[in-house]
Amino acid sequence: MAIKTEPFILNMGPQHPSTHGVFRMRVTLDGEVIVGLEPIIGYLHRGIEKLAEGRTYIQNMPFTDRLDYVTSMTNNLAYAMAVEKLAGIKVPERAEYFRVVIAEMMRISSHLMGVGFFLNDLGAMMTPVLYMWREREKVVDLFEMLCGQRLTYNYMRFGGVSQDVPEEFWPALKRFVAEMPKFIDEYEQLLSLNEILLARTKGVGILPSDMAVNIGASGPVLRASGVKWDLRRADPYSIYDRFDFDVPVGSVGDCYDRYMVKIEEMRQSVRILEQAIAQFPAKGELCANVPLLLRPPVGEVYGRIEAPKGELGFYLVSDNSIAPYRFHVRTPELINLTALREMTIGWKVADLIIIFGSIDICMGEIDR
């Protein structure tokens, strides 16, 4: 007698330890195998894009902190650069260096969290996360010296940055940069060649390069699929053309590649930091002279940067008033997530969690 079986629907999230926020997946399961997946978003929707239309340009800066709250500084930077493009503001050189240093520190911090929680999703019981938080803590301490905040920094200004650093910042930063390669080696020794990790991640959740391009993926997710596309190289902004660094790419686009690309990018960020610190101008302006009630000329602009998780763009339309007429955010994470269904069908529940974890998302940016 054959036992009758039928697929059942499992509601994963919005309250679930591995959905990295309030993401919900309605998963259809045949035993352990996923036969259908429907992502449902919007549980963290705050209407930031609409709210921003009623506020002045500089008042919108704190909103960008709350997009992807793990990478607040780069969100600030992307918005500031879009407005600078709109209003034609020139940024002093010293401020550009500040921005690069901060952006790369933010990238290290974000990748540490991404890799750590990816390993946690794999079942490595908090240990990698807590080791990586030890280093993230140092980045956060440095940012606290910069602006007094530890999560939502609100540090960038149009035409520069808001304030100079205290004296103790430089020795602390130099120590961090000197120690970081050793710590990255340590994480790699802990798990990168672990048999279970290889078995769980190699060949799992493959995102082919053509599909990655078609969905518009960017950041480590795109590069893990073997597409060498990094805005710092492809469309150089700020002063990135002055630094020597590689763009690591993966080969097949599985979870392991996405993991290794993030690890490699941390090493490259350390390289950029070393060069930036060496070239850092001792004296100079911190911020261009920009009126508080900025009235950019009528026009529209799309400013983009390579945020830790991909291409973060701000589309702004100005009607020459003190508030943007339209404020749209092109978030990398939402777009990277669109292939989730194709990547997970046929895999098991446990794989769904790690594929989802390897995309490295933050709900604050997806729901806005």
């Binding site: 591995s18 352990e32 030890r134 769980r200 895999w347």
Partner: protein
């Protein structure tokens, strides 16, 4: 003769009635064994939390009592006072019964664990069979919890648990038979006495298989699929709270205590050891084993469900069979020569088999076309 039996005989010489001379030592034994297990469970909880914290560059509980030793008691008190929630559509009886079915066998196993030379509750002549039989009951309890909760995560966890526990029973039993062959007895006391050289040296492969199997049997990392908190939240005990949850929690640590004691007894020479009293030796071995388990838990990622089954059936099971045949041949033909030759042979065999399997064996599984 065990100490309890001797106590009974002594009571008889005091002209106690027959039933009293039987019941009183039995009750005393129950109290002592229960006290031992529960005390060890509490110490294990503290040990694990503290040690895990050390592995994870944090402090762990350190406020209540010296080094936070009373934290498990506070946790227990908190859990006792929590509201007991039963899901509306749960199977009430099964839901209520499951924690007991999981926890009771753990206490039962201790009846045959020797804590000293004659300090054993019941020196069964089929002790090993008893251990294997009783330890399987917990699987039923876990399935009851998953089924009775009327929760899909719990059901997934329960389904995983049945597959996992049934599969890992095989290599465990096969590696146990190797021990029984060498000791020539199924009695736990006799097995301890047979270990002039601990069986971990005589059968390194058997020990490794039993240890890994035990990790799977007690649902510890990297085999903790049935409560994989990052995948299926808490697996079978998702819907449990209050004291019922505490029963599962204690059951988990109780399982660890039992398996550490059994491994120590079967492979590490149990209570035997120079100078120190037997119970101290047993505890040293138990805590050393538990340390390794915590170490693994703090480091290893989790296997996937198909890889888990593949590991049991394609790696552990055949190796256990080979190990069993080799041990049987040694017992049959090599009994006269010095045991150190057998130690040498078995170490070479273990290294060879593990290397060969690590080359040939692939976990397999993967994507299913749907």
């Amino acid at each position: 003769m065990t100490l309890l039996e001797e106590f009974g005989l002594w009571l008889k010489t005091l002209n106690w009635p027959e039933w009293a001379a039987y019941v009183v030592p039995a009750l005393l034994g129950i109290v002592v064994v229960l006290g031992f297990v529960l005390a060890l469970v509490i110490i294990f909880i503290w040990f694990e939390r503290r040690l895990l914290a050390r592995f994870q560059v944090r402090l762990g509980p350190n406020r209540l009592g010296p080094e936070g030793i009373f934290q498990p008691l506070a946790t227990g008190l908190k859990v006792l006072l929590k509201e007991d929630i039963v899901p509306a559509k749960a199977d009430k009886v099964v839901h209520w019964l499951a924690p007991i079915v999981v926890f009771a066998p753990i206490l039962l196993i201790f009846a045959v664990v020797p804590l000293g030379q004659r300090a054993i509750f019941a020196d069964l002549n089929v002790g090993v069979v008893y251990v294997v039989a009783i330890s399987s009951i917990s699987a039923v309890g876990i399935y009851m919890a998953g089924w009775g909760s009327n929760n899909k995560y719990a059901l997934l966890g329960a389904m995983r648990s049945i597959a996992q526990l049934v599969s890992y029973e095989m290599p465990i039993v096969l590696s146990l038979i190797g021990v029984v062959l060498m000791a020539g007895s199924l009695s736990m006391t006799k097995i301890v006495e047979a270990q002039a050289i601990p069986f971990i040296l005589l059968q390194p492969l058997g020990f490794a298989i039993f240890f890994l199997g035990a990790l799977a049997e007690m649902n510890r990392s990297p085999f903790d699929l049935l409560e994989a908190d990052s995948e299926i939240v808490a697996g079978f005990h998702t819907e449990y709270s209050g004291m019922k949850f505490a029963m599962f929690y204690m059951g988990e640590f109780g399982h660890a205590v039992t398996y550490c004691c059994i491994i120590a007894t079967l492979f590490l020479g149990g209570w035997q050891g120079p100078l120190l009293p037997p119970i101290i030796w047993l505890l040293i071995k138990v805590f050393a084993l538990y340390f390794v388990m915590i170490w693994i838990r703090a480091t290893m990622p989790r296997l996937r469900v198909d890889q888990l089954m593949g590991f049991a059936w394609k790696a552990l099971f055949p190796m256990a069979v080979v190990n069993l045949f080799v041990v049987a041949a040694e017992v049959l033909w090599l009994q006269t020569i010095t045991p150190w030759v057998i130690v040498g042979i078995n170490f070479v065999l273990a290294v060879f088999l593990v290397l060969m399997w690590s080359r040939l064996f692939t976990l397999g599984g993967g994507r299913v076309e749907v």
